[in-house]
Symmetry: C2
Subunit: 360 residues, 2 copies
Amino acid sequence: MPQLFFVPGPSATYFTLEDHLKSALKEQVMAISHRSQAFKDLYQNTQKNLRSLLEIPAEYEIVFTTSATEVWDRMAENLVDETSLHFVHGSFSDKCAKAFQRLGKKAEIITAEAGKCAKFEGANIRQTPELIHFTLNETATGVKHPYADMQKAREQFPEALMALDVVSATPTTPIDFQQFDSVYFSVQKCFGLPSGLGVWIVSPKAIQKAEQLTADGKVYPSYHPLLELVEKSKVYQTIETPNTLNIYLLGKIAEDMLRKGVTQIRREALYKKTLLQKLFTDHPQLSPLVTEADLQSDTVAVANVEGGSAPLIEYLKSKQMVIGAGYGKAKASQIRIANFPTHSKEQIEYLVDLIMEWRI
Amino acid sequence: MPQLFFVPGPSATYFTLEDHLKSALKEQVMAISHRSQAFKDLYQNTQKNLRSLLEIPAEYEIVFTTSATEVWDRMAENLVDETSLHFVHGSFSDKCAKAFQRLGKKAEIITAEAGKCAKFEGANIRQTPELIHFTLNETATGVKHPYADMQKAREQFPEALMALDVVSATPTTPIDFQQFDSVYFSVQKCFGLPSGLGVWIVSPKAIQKAEQLTADGKVYPSYHPLLELVEKSKVYQTIETPNTLNIYLLGKIAEDMLRKGVTQIRREALYKKTLLQKLFTDHPQLSPLVTEADLQSDTVAVANVEGGSAPLIEYLKSKQMVIGAGYGKAKASQIRIANFPTHSKEQIEYLVDLIMEWRI
């Protein structure tokens, strides 16, 4: 019997995915050469739809990587000589900061306790960062970083590149690309695609920095240097044979989302988010991890469960509903519920009703 | 109208692929968490089937990368301190050698003219290599490197790691894993899968070398270090969210191939290879690029076309048959035809008949 997946990624696939897989077979997307015109057309179509859906400025470049995890390394390798600044309010923002440190960068880290946002305002910054990294939506804790706080960092360090992890946020939470230089996500979250593709969007300022570091011989010469990714992307090509199927599917699902309208997607997300947060407040054994309303993620709802999360997760599994456990150390004590575009209002309503009825 | 793809990768998908995609949807493979037991079971199944199909020794580890191109970087980063030796008889073996050089290794290169094999025997080797890289089947030229020659290198440099590119060869061309330490391929060639997954098989000796280099602080700290790939793989896990769909599909198609029998696959390949090479000899405007029988690839047939390859390629396209042009500089003068397990005897016979009838 099919299950409904509310784990925050990989999660339920987008409801049109099956149709697009059928089209991919019919159009022989998996058999075409990645050097063919058919591939270039497909690539161009995906770029066009993404650009339109996310309102990416024309002068920004869109490149594909193999995952968002890869982007952490590529940012550290291509956009930073020495210093970066990271705001950590969960495991994923932490892993990103650690990637920069692993690759020899002086990555300064501002941390927050669980459920709070590591903010620029009030932080004691010790070094001038070349790049400032924010996590718009921390998938581990469901914390949203408010844009107003990021703006303050930009004002204080106008030279720095602004990097933004939107892995589980986009396209639900809007992005003003003009405020950022390096924005990235993976496709198995809100886009409801099979995993195995990262999308990295870079500003002219980021490319300029990569050019300068390259000229100075300071970019690690991996097989995926940013400048070569960009150069290939401009002619709708990739360095190696890519995940063509996913590039195709992303273009199709971006088109579906354009048709539905991103405003409608956002309106529904807000409704579902309200239901989930209300559940966490109303249920006697649940409490929201993130208590400040402006810090609550639009797409990932996290709650503490009195007595531990396992019984609730098991109970829902018996109803064919799969939600996430807490991340890392919080595995046994928390639940995480994805509120992605493919999760319908009716599904979330049903899930909320089921949980409301549940007691240990 | 559907086309038949004989380009040497990406190429025609394996004939059972559509069924497995349907199963993947039914089993919700694209929605499960990569940290779930369902994922571990799927991963273990793929490893088991691959190990059985390719007769990979129990003490060798199988890890997944995002492409074979990635493996070039990972080998240079994890298995070599200073020196490597490369036998180049086409663009792909060349790109591999260049990757080692790009990453700062002293990569010695032995080259051959087009259609010949760069052999160890008779080569003047200037340095003692830590790793010797061979390309079993050069996809650009259709040259097969004879095992007997590789064996001589192993005898002369018993300390060196033996690396083998089997990208477009496996499972058609057999591999004696005991003779090699690092063997890799991508799945969009003989396995007929969507692109976006690399498979890297390493010996205990290779792991030992990586351990030593890691202890000495000589391994570049990427997000995909060999030792961590191995550590995760041992518990059927991956470092980041992987291409789960492809790992699943690879397991299924390996199972299909096991059922058919690898002996049968090899017998059919030999028959098809003979037809193609005979065509190249018999047709007045074609001539085989590789003239020595023991150097002719089992899976990729390459021919020079008198007057240029474009008219023949166009003629076949009008019959819904898509073959490859020559690679790189040979694009306009050569054709390349894949003879992969999914290409049936009947399809190759029909293709050969069509080409036999063709004149400029």
